[in-house]
Symmetry: C2
Subunit: 121 residues, 2 copies
Amino acid sequence: MVGGTDLQHPARDEIDLGDVLFALSAPDRLSIVLQLQQGPLTAARCTADGGPVPKSTKSHMLKVLRESGVIRNEPRGRNRVLTLRRVDLDARFPGLLDAVLGAGAAAATSAVGRSGANLDR
Amino acid sequence: MVGGTDLQHPARDEIDLGDVLFALSAPDRLSIVLQLQQGPLTAARCTADGGPVPKSTKSHMLKVLRESGVIRNEPRGRNRVLTLRRVDLDARFPGLLDAVLGAGAAAATSAVGRSGANLDR
C-alpha cells in the first residue's frame, strides 16, 4: 500500500513545538534532517553527523525525529524511506524549519571551514 | 558597574544552535523567553509556565537559558535582571527566534482557547 506505514506518526495538528525543537537540538539528528532537505532517502543512506554509529543509536535518532513529527519513516519494498515533513512543519510553525536548516547549514559550513583551516588550506 | 555580571555568558559567536534549540524546547523555559519579548524583567517577576516552581527548579531553568546564550542574567542593585539576547540570536541564527516565538505564542493562545472550550465558553 503506497504511503502505508507500520510506525506511528503524529498528525499535523498533534506536532508539538517543544518536541520538534528537542528533536532538532542534537547535531546528529539535525544532520539527518539536513540530508533530507533535497528529498527522501532510504534509512540506510542517511548517516549520523560524525559518520557510522551503532544501529541502535541510529534507530533511536530516527525514532525521536519520527515521534516529534519532523520526519516520516515508511516502508517501501525492502527498504525504509525517510521523508522530511516540510509541508506539515511549515504549516504548523511558519518559518521555523527554514530558520533551523539555514542555521544548521551555516554551522556545518563553518565547521568544514574550521577543519580546513586546521589543515592549513 | 553597569552591565557587569558575575555569571558566565557565551559570546555571540560561541552561541550554539543545538544549545539554543534545547533551551527553547522545554515549555517552562520557552515561557520565560516569551515573557522577556517585551523587555527585561527581574528574575523574581518571571514565572514558569505552570505557575510557582521550587527556587532550585527556576534557578536551573535560568541557567540553561543563560548558558545557551538565549538570555542574559545580570545583577542590578539588589535584583537580578533577565534580558532576551535578541540582537545576538538574530545575528547568529536569522529568523530563528521570531519563528520560535511566533509558534510559541500561537501554542500558548491555542492552549488558552482549549481550556476556554473546556469551560463551555
